[in-house]
């Protein structure tokens, strides 16, 4: 056990699982003792979904080194696929948890397929170009969803891309209604399922990073030419990271979508992608636990500051800048380090003196 703990990677991974589990248990206990307000309860599931989003994007941005600005698009695919599947199978699967799992996998697989299709042309590009293509892709998806009409009646699913084309029989209902989005969704998402999804995501991502594939992916990030020269198929490994990331984002989307009773395509816009990117950058590129913590904090922070009224969003921005400076600016880092070093030095001296005095 001690040997395991001495391995740095294993230690970081175990800490990650531990932090997430402790946070879950604390929240569950507080909730069952009635210590959580409705607001806090409302944050739990979205936070879970965003954590999965941030971790999956971190795989792409931090580990693979590819900037993606369309991650919310995959979330949208997952959300709307999940909503349609859940409505379709509602009678076939009476168990809510099972239905949610099926919907999540359907959403994930759909997002994965789209990730693969987009990856074929997009992954020929690098850096800024890839960022722009993913951005465009996210916007395209958003527009498709806001023009998609899906109805369900006794004859099955009906789909169209313009209004009035979906004619439903008696007793049928619209699942997706163009710009109005999905309404009347049966809420299936629960906090424990969100927690399970986070664990699943961590399991997939952490194992991938520390595997042979993961090392190849990191090699591609660090030096593409050198990697290619030793016979590693660069595109294939980038594609793997891209598809896994899209798959997880799709699952997060389903969890998110099935938590609200109505959902519009405009939710999955450029801003949503950037928001997740902010979580990743502030948590630290390639730092999975960092992504988890920064997502939870940055999601709740603006909500907790509601009491400040008009100053809320300004202060939120200021907090972002300060955290960014404190964690990533070399000069601030050095300053903090020198302060902590001198404090440590003093402590050590005091100790020595104490020992000497004895």
């Amino acid at each position: 056990m001690k040997k395991l703990w001495n391995n740095k990677t294993t230690r970081t991974n175990l800490t990650t699982y531990l932090v997430v589990t402790v946070a879950f248990v604390v929240m569950q206990l507080m909730s069952s003792f009635g210590q959580l307000g409705s607001a806090m309860k409302g944050y739990l599931i979205p936070v879970c979904a965003y954590i999965v989003m941030a971790v999956s994007l971190n795989l792409l941005v931090g580990v693979c080194g590819e900037l993606s600005l369309g991650h919310a698009g995959f979330m949208g695919i997952g959300a709307f696929t999940g909503i349609v599947i859940a409505a379709l199978l509602q009678d076939a699967i009476p168990n809510d948890t099972l239905l949610l799992v099926v919907a999540m996998f359907a959403g994930g697989i759909m997002a994965g397929i789209f990730g693969f299709l987009i990856g074929i042309p997009a992954l020929r590009l690098r850096g800024d170009y890839l960022a722009i293509v993913t951005l465009a892709f996210g916007e395209i998806l958003k527009n498709i969803f806001s023009n998609l009409y899906v109805g369900l009646d006794s004859e099955g699913l009906h789909m169209a891309v313009s209004t009035g084309k979906v004619q439903l029989l008696e007793g049928g209902r619209m699942i997706l209604d163009g710009p109005v989005g999905a309404t009347g969704i049966t809420k299936l998402s629960t906090f424990p399922m969100g927690f399970v999804l986070i664990l699943f995501t961590l399991f997939v991502v952490l194992n991938l990073i520390n595997s042979k594939e993961g090392r190849a992916i990191k090699a591609v990030r660090d030096n593409r030419i050198a990697t290619e020269s030793v016979g590693i198929n660069v595109t294939a490994f980038r594609m793997k990271a891209f598809v896994v990331s899209a798959f997880l984002a799709g699952m997060a989307g389903t969890l998110f979508g099935l938590n609200f009773s109505s959902l519009q395509a405009s939710k999955f816009n450029f801003n949503a992608s950037i928001n997740v990117l902010v979580f990743v950058v502030l948590g630290g590129m390639g730092n999975i636990l960092g992504s988890v913590i920064s997502t939870a904090v940055l999601y709740i922070l603006p909500e907790a500051m509601r009491g400040l009224d008009d100053l809320r969003m300004i202060l939120y921005a200021v907090v972002l800048i300060i955290v960014m400076l404190f964690t990533w600016s070399p000069s601030v880092k050095n300053a903090v380090q020198s302060v902590t070093a001198s404090v440590q030095e003093k402590l050590r001296k005091n100790k020595k003196e104490a020992v000497n005095n004895e």
Partner: protein, 382 residues
């Protein structure tokens, strides 16, 4: 360094958690708690802040004159950024504050997100300006102060037919906006019944609305002498400006979203002359002057639009109903909801946006539709 970061974040999280809870407050019998959410920041802020100000005026008036019944209002607003997810968070925050009545949301998408939760919690909800039919249909405790979109579209068609305003009708609408689409659907359905001749129908989306010249040209080429513009004032200003540029002068006709067209920055209001719009509130009418001057004081001289008046009416309708049914600050939200639901079935309310307003079983409003025409930079009853 990472440790320091982790500790800072953990501390922030704990602080956030404490800020989140512990706000449960004591109930005072003489004060009812009303909450609202709306877009107070962001692209739709103009509607949210207008409603908020209208409501605040009503609350101030009521609290100043509370002598008769002794019942006062404590009012709290929260920003929802025109987003369903944020609206739900804001609503939950208000619930933790002890809200008894929910006077929101302002825009449709947040309403659709919050309404099912309000039904589940049994909190009385009345939206001042969320106009989709689906909102009121969510549950029996959800009410609307404004017309539903299809109803307003139908009223518009009726007015056009009655006054014989058009021979060839063109429609420009925002296909990415459910408000715009609801109006068009209502207009077209009623128009087909009344034999209106729609010759041109063209649309744009929220992503490509920075230039509407193509759509205006299409209507001109189709020979339309009447153009229906079921969208908001900012886009309408663009349409009017471009039409003037190419010398196209049909009758332009808008709905309540068009209200505020005279206050748009950088827009030559002379171009809006002759524009007809459906709006329940006329800031140039005599009976609204008291409200208009109070609003101007509060908002640095801005003239109120119908959103503000809707907000004002929502507060008064809830307050009057509370006084009539004997609800006070100690009544639980669910009890108050049940009482009001029953009371609103037979309730008739007179306010700024109309008199003799009643609500049907679904919670949709019924009032006399009104239209105004812009003459010499002022609204004149049409």
């Amino acid at each position: 360094m990472k440790k320091v970061f982790a500790i800072v974040l953990a501390a922030a999280m704990i602080a956030a958690m404490f800020a989140g809870c512990g706000s449960g407050s004591s109930a005072d019998a003489g004060t009812i708690k009303v909450g609202m959410t709306g877009p107070l920041t962001g692209g739709a802020a103009v509607y949210g802040t207008a409603v908020e100000a209208g409501m605040k005026i009503a609350v101030e008036e009521i609290n100043a004159a509370a002598g008769d019944s002794g019942l006062k209002i404590e009012f709290k607003s929260a920003d929802d950024e025109h987003d369903g997810e944020k609206a739900l968070n804001a609503y939950n925050t208000l619930k933790d504050w002890g809200m008894q009545f929910f006077a929101g949301c302002v825009t449709t998408a947040p309403c659709l997100s919050v309404a099912p939760q309000a039904v589940e919690d049994q909190v009385f909800m009345m939206t001042p300006s969320g106009s989709s039919e689906k909102i009121a249909n969510t549950g029996s405790n959800i009410f609307q102060m404004c017309f539903t979109d299809p109803n307003q579209g139908a009223n518009a068609a009726l007015l056009v037919a009655e006054k014989e305003m058009a021979t060839n009708i063109g429609i420009i609408y925002d296909s990415s906006d459910d408000y715009s689409k609801g109006l068009v659907d209502g207009f077209k359905t009623k128009g087909a019944e009344l034999g209106l001749n729609i010759v041109c129908e063209t649309s744009f989306t929220s992503d490509n609305k920075s230039d509407l010249s193509t759509q205006v040209t299409q209507c001109k080429d189709a020979g339309c002498d009447f153009v229906f513009l079921p969208f908001y004032a900012t886009e309408a200003a663009q349409v009017l400006t471009y039409a003037n540029k190419i010398g196209y002068e049909p009758t332009f006709f808008g709905c309540d979203g068009m209200d505020g067209v005279l206050t748009i920055d950088g827009f030559d209001t002379a171009l809006a002359e002759g524009l007809v719009l459906m709006t329940p509130f006329n800031p140039d009418a005599e009976e609204t002057q008291d409200f208009v001057s109070k609003y101007k004081d509060m908002m640095d001289g801005v003239v109120p639009n119908q959103f503000a008046a809707d907000g004002y009416d929502v507060i008064y309708s809830i307050y009057n109903a509370c006084v009539a049914t004997g609800i006070d600050g100690t009544t639980s939200a669910a009890d108050a909801c049940a009482k009001l639901e029953e009371y609103f079935a037979t309730y008739t309310f007179d306010g700024l946006t109309g008199s003799g307003m009643t609500w049907d079983a679904a919670g949709m409003i019924s009032k006399v539709p009104a239209a105004v025409i812009i003459e010499n930079g002022k609204y004149v009853a049409f």
